[in-house]
């Protein structure tokens, strides 16, 4: 290090070159170490790797690939009175492509899901922000998060059904509005309508949006927010430049959850929508109920495709692999 006092004529100041070099050498050694390790792993053979991969692969096989493959397979089989025979046919798809109702419904459900994703984001982000950033005590943070989770302690169906006494013609909301004199006739739009289905789904699924955003926001180093303010960002700029980009993975994951869950929904639509509202989910369910399994499978194939397209669109908003 004695050399670092430097020859004359060197600008007063930094002897960083050698330090940078020294650190680079350390870095390269570390990189070499990794490479050596990889070779050693290679020599030990693929057996260890296979052992590590197997549980995950089996899980995927049984819970994702096998059911989807089954659906695709059945969609090409022939319908019988009691189910289906493994006789190849395109009849199910012929029927599907000749039906405008199905495609309208698919398109409607797609948009409806995106609207719910948007609403869940607009309403859910402030909640997550409040929990993660505004509440500074970890105790309160956890306590409030558990309170937010409380509705999930009851079954999904009960929560859906609970909307009926709330929104019905003689329900709590209509009664309250009537008592307050804000309306003179009970509102029919509150139940068995698109509006009712949207509100109910929002309540049922918003936590899937709040939770991932909350976890991302909670990881943000508060001093980086102070640094942003210190470097001249006003409150809005530090939100846009520091908080929002760092919560993007949470927003994308939350959106995927809400999108997938609402896109295939049929129970809420049945309960809250009554007979007046339908979705791709209810179409598939009706077909299953009337033992038209191959037809239901063909309908489901395009539902799955639509979901995949939606997920890909959502994934474009954040590089999850890099940012998580």
């Amino acid at each position: 290090m004695s050399g670092s006092s430097g020859p004359e004529g060197r600008p007063a100041g930094l002897h960083v070159d050698e330090i940078v070099q020294a650190e680079q050498v350390v870095g390269e050694e570390a990189a070499l170490g990794e490479k050596g390790g990889a070779e050693a792993r290679g020599r030990r053979g693929g057996l260890t790797t296979a052992a590590w991969v197997t549980p995950g692969a089996l899980w995927l096989l049984f819970f994702v690939f096998a059911p989807v493959a089954m659906i695709v397979l059945v969609s090409f089989w022939t319908r019988t009175v009691s189910g289906f025979d493994p006789i190849w046919t395109l009849e199910n798809y012929d029927f599907l492509f000749s039906s405008n109702v199905y495609w309208d419904q698919l398109w409607n459900s797609f948009w409806h899901s995106l609207v719910i994703v948007g609403l869940a984001l607009v309403l859910g982000f402030p909640v997550a922000y409040f929990l993660a950033i505004c509440v500074t005590s970890l105790r309160y943070q956890i306590a409030l998060f558990i309170i937010a989770l409380a509705p999930f302690w009851t079954s999904y169906l009960i929560r859906a059904v609970a909307w009926i006494p709330m929104m019905g013609r003689q329900g709590a909301l209509n009664t309250a509005l009537l008592e307050l004199g804000l309306i003179s006739e009970p509102l029919d739009v509150l139940l068995f309508s698109d509006f009712a289905v949207t509100v109910a789904m929002l309540q049922l699924y918003i936590l899937f949006m709040v939770a991932p955003i909350f976890f991302m926001l909670a990881q943000i180093d508060r001093s980086s927010l102070e640094a942003a303010r210190d470097l001249g960002a006003n409150a809005f700029q530090s939100f846009r430049e520091v908080i929002l980009p760092q919560s993007a993975p949470g927003i994308v994951i939350g959106s995927i959850f809400v999108f997938i869950l609402t896109m295939g929904e049929f129970a809420t639509v049945r309960i809250i929508g009554g007979g007046t509202v339908s979705s791709v989910g209810t179409i598939v369910q009706t077909q299953v109920a009337s033992v038209q399994f191959p037809q239901a499978a063909a309908s489901a194939v395009f539902l799955v495709l639509a979901m995949i397209i939606g997920v890909f669109v959502l994934l474009r908003f954040s590089n999850l692999r890099e940012e998580l």
């Binding site: 180093d221 001093s223 006003n234």
Partner: protein
């Protein structure tokens, strides 16, 4: 070249120029004053270190200057204008935070250009500035990496470049070397010092590390329990501590409590147990019979084996631990229940090796005795 810029730091500033802390006070809760009536003037181009143990109020003071904490009382003036009430983004100060506080989702270059971007400087211009700042810290080749791909020392330099690009009037450094390992810390403090000389900028550096403070500062402000204990150049802080807090915190000072037994002009004698300590206290208001505390630096103590203690400024002590530190040997000794320290040259180590338990004579000169303020 170094001397020239060093001289540039010392001339007295024009009135009103520089940073002025006036009766600065920060209260957390009812009766807990984190910072208590701090008065301090810092000139432009000066490197000032706020030094003290954790909880002494040094970081709170820095955060109040930066606008991250509102003072309960007092004022902060920069070039005669109050900074009170201004948010951090409106203040001409920038802070290097302890854990660097880099933006993890941005590249090195994007981190550095953040400040100019917030000021609305066009893209090409701010990129040019950012590259210039990265050149200054030798990190231009790393411009496109994410902070997580850098070493601690490199992250530290990005944090520096990010604030330098703002061309602040005062640079605030909150334990800037705290996250680095020792060797890097030693090099970075030299870099910081050189950088400050080069830029001629006001640096206010918070640390709890005595050696770091002595190494970088033009002036050191020793703080204790929210108050300033002493403000002086590093030599004075090290050799002429004002009071017990400073003498204790700086370490390697032998502190004797006793009473004044003689006063003869500037010369005083202090009786402390069996020991008689003679020293000089010019201009100090004290008289015979009053309590007194004196301090003697460990390196001013001479150590003799097999010698008798016969006069003033000589005591016998027993060696507890011999600590070899390369350039010097630190002898931890005790005398009449007092724990004392003496430092002798490293080449005397063979003489003291394995002498734990043996008796030695400690002695010192009158001029090395410092009478401390009570």
């Amino acid at each position: 070249m170094e001397e020239k810029s060093a001289a540039g730091a010392s001339p007295p500033p024009p009135t009103g120029a520089g940073l002025e802390l006036k009766g600065l006070t920060k209260q957390f809760g009812e009766d807990l004053a984190a910072v208590d009536d701090v008065n301090l003037h810092i000139a432009h181009g000066e490197y000032v270190v706020l030094l003290g143990p954790s909880g002494c109020g040094k970081t709170t003071t820095l955060r109040m200057i930066g606008g991250h904490e509102e003072p309960t009382k007092g004022d902060i003036l920069l070039d005669g204008e109050s900074l009170l009430g201004l948010p951090p983004d409106k203040r001409p100060t920038t802070t290097v935070f302890q854990h660097f506080a880099l933006f993890p989702h941005r590249t090195v270059l994007e981190n550095v250009e953040f400040g100019p971007k917030m000021r609305g400087i066009p893209k090409e211009e701010r990129r040019e500035k950012a590259r210039g700042a990265l050149d200054m810290v030798g990190l231009r080749p790393m411009a496109d990496r994410k902070p997580s791909a850098l070493s601690g020392g490199q992250q530290q330099r990005v944090a520096l470049a990010r604030v330098l690009v703002m061309e602040p009037k005062a640079l605030l450094l909150d334990e800037p070397l705290g996250d680095l390992d020792r060797l890097l810390r030693l090099r970075m403090r030299v870099e910081l010092r050189a950088l400050q000389r080069q830029l001629g900028l006001m640096f206010i550096h918070v640390t709890h590390d005595q050696e770091e403070a002595l190494s970088v500062g033009d002036r050191i402000v020793v703080m204790h329990e929210g108050r300033i204990e002493q403000v002086a150049d590093p030599y004075t802080i090290s050799n002429l501590p004002d009071n017990v807090e400073v003498a204790t915190f700086m370490g390697d000072n032998n502190i004797f409590e006793g009473t004044i037994s003689r006063r003869d002009g500037d010369a005083i004698s202090v009786e402390s147990g069996e020991a008689e300590i003679r020293g000089l206290a010019p201009g100090v208001d004290t008289s015979v019979g009053k309590p007194a505390v004196v301090s003697i630096r460990a390196s001013a103590v001479q150590v003799e084996q097999d010698a008798a203690a016969s006069g003033p400024n000589e005591i016998l002590a027993e060696i507890d631990v011999v600590e070899y530190l390369g350039d010097l040997v630190k002898l931890h000794v005790s005398s009449e229940g007092r724990r004392l320290v003496a430092k002798v040259a490293g080449d005397r180590y063979p003489e003291f090796r394995n002498t734990e338990g043996s008796s030695v004579r400690l002695s010192w000169k009158e001029e090395d005795v410092r009478l401390l303020r009570a």
